[in-house]
């Protein structure tokens, strides 16, 4: 099934490395549970697979998850707060990924809270990393308080993850307003957990409905994919799987972050997703 647009991502490409230092990308959303951590992990893997040097930073102090999704939980020795409070060198807190040698994770502290980190600390850490890598991707906690301010402080670019539902879009709108107030724009939108079949029936907001309200540019549309759950549990982000539509969507986002023009995947084609649904409900009138 649909590997059309993503095929290029899996073929080796000449390394395009930044000469001027890393781009800092913060992944945020306002609302919890829309897929920030999954998006961070997958974009990180996708970028590393096209030969980018990537550091992921989990800024969700006290509720760390990114290490689990990346399958690196058992390798944690030092964390972000250890670096900030001087208990270790930055390098020591960077956990190298198992398969991708140029993908690193700086995990969050689990026993502390957001107040252990300040926006200035985040800027300092990002500036220290900039000369060493191509991308620094920060996983922002839910909410609009200290954790959010920490995560966006060093950002060169902000990706806002939302789901096609009104409450998530409302929170995304609030976040965009806050970013505008701090001159952190323009942010880009990742529309996650899209179900083409529900959009077709008018039961779910379409990408057009969402961008109509938020008025920012889409950088990715990720279809709902139940293998996300098993991928998270097993610590193997979907962006590793070449035959996953969600994985392909994340790889496309990574390529767009590199400045490539990648067309959006056809969501409601008859080859994969929709055909299966149609079969489930007794096809015919559906196609």
């Amino acid at each position: 099934m649909g590997v059309n647009a993503g095929a290029a991502a899996s073929t080796p490409q000449p390394p395009k490395r930044s000469a001027t230092g890393a781009k800092v990308v913060t992944i945020t959303s306002g609302k919890g549970g829309v897929g920030k951590t999954t998006t961070t992990a997958n974009i990180g893997v996708a970028l590393a697979r096209i030969n980018q040097r990537v550091v992921l930073i989990d800024a969700d102090i006290g509720l760390r998850n990114l290490d689990i999704v990346m399958g690196l939980e058992n390798r944690i020795v030092y964390d972000l707060v250890d670096v900030i409070e001087g208990r270790c060198k930055l390098r020591q807190a960077m956990i190298k990924h198992k398969q991708l040698p140029e993908l690193y994770l700086i995990p969050a502290a689990q026993t502390r809270d957001k107040s252990a980190v300040s926006p200035a600390d985040m800027i300092k850490i990002a500036d220290q990393l900039r000369p060493e890598v191509d991308f620094i991707i920060i996983d922002c906690p839910a909410g609009i308080e200290r954790g959010f301010r920490n995560a966006v402080a060093p950002a060169d670019e902000v990706l806002i993850v939302t789901n096609p539902e009104i409450s998530a879009v409302r929170d995304a709108d609030r976040i965009i307003g806050l970013l505008e107030a701090e001159n952190k724009g323009p942010a880009h939108l990742v529309l996650n957990r899209v179900k083409p079949e529900m959009i077709r029936k008018g039961e779910m907001l379409s990408p057009e409905d969402v961008t109509d309200i938020l008025a920012i540019k889409l950088i990715g549309i990720v279809p709902e994919d139940e293998t996300v759950v098993s991928a998270s549990n097993s610590g193997t982000p979907l962006a590793f799987l070449d035959n996953s539509r969600a994985g392909t969507a994340y790889r496309n986002i990574a390529r767009r972050l590199m400045g490539e023009q990648v067309p959006f995947m056809q969501l409601d084609d008859n080859t994969g997703f929709r055909k299966r649904i149609a079969r489930l409900f007794g096809s015919g009138q559906n196609s």
Partner: protein
């Protein structure tokens, strides 16, 4: 009594009463009472904004004036003052408190050049122009009119003493004529507010998904909010 300065002026949303800043408080209130009694029928039912200037007025003095007005069928709803004591007293009595010191020094003068001719319709009501989209969580309040060049997204709110004009999509909450002006209107290029209020009336948008966006005006007619096509 003649050396006590009291000005009673009709403004768009009621009466503006400016009280002497210097004279003894008891004399001022006595003079106010007699001035009002001269035309009690004329003033009855008016909504009053009290301008106290620099004078610090304590809460019990303030509630005294409020009662004085209420006995004559008038409602004190706002206080303008440069004194924090007066403003705190007003807030404590649930009155709208406008800080004179924070606003322009001469609120009765139009902000633009005084050589410009203006008529009474343009006088008195200020406005605010916002050239961007109001996003969720943003609130705009104004003593005058509000004009938005952009959208008003769901989760945002506009509260204005005067009219609200949205050159864009109106999807948030909006309250025009929030101090009781039933002549206030709300205009938008696409009228779909979460909730719309004019003076004391409340309306919500019908959930018609197939509607075509068109410029519309909401106003009060026959004691309810109606929405007309915007004809200017």
């Amino acid at each position: 009594m003649s050396d006590i300065n009291i000005a009673i002026k009709g403004v768009k949303d009621g009466l503006l009463i400016t009280l002497d800043e210097e004279a003894e408080w008891g004399a001022v209130t006595a003079d106010l009472a007699s001035r009002l009694d001269e035309k009690s029928a004329f003033f009855a039912g008016a909504s009053v904004t009290l301008d106290l200037g620099e004078r610090p007025v304590a809460k019990d003095q303030m509630s005294g004036v409020k009662a004085l007005l209420e006995r004559r069928g008038m409602l004190l709803h706002a206080v303008t003052s440069a004194s924090m004591t007066s403003l705190d007293a007003a807030s404590a009595l649930d009155l709208r408190a406008h800080n004179l010191a924070a606003v322009e020094p001469e609120p009765e003068q139009p902000a633009f050049g005084s050589e410009l001719p203006y008529n009474s319709e343009e006088d008195g009501m200020i406005g605010v122009l916002i050239r961007r989209t109001l996003r969720s969580g943003k609130t705009v309040t104004s003593r005058g009119h509000v004009v938005i060049l952009g959208d008003v997204n769901p989760g945002s709110e506009i509260v204005a003493v005067g009219d609200v004009i949205v050159w864009g999509k109106l999807r948030g909450r909006v309250h025009a004529g929030c101090e009781g002006d039933e002549q206030a209107v709300v205009c938008a290029l696409d009228m779909q507010p979460t909730q719309l209020r004019i003076a004391g009336y409340i309306a919500i948008s019908p959930s018609d998904k197939r509607r075509k966006p068109k410029p519309e005006t909401a106003l009060i007619r026959d004691r309810q909010i109606v929405v007309d096509e915007w004809t200017g």
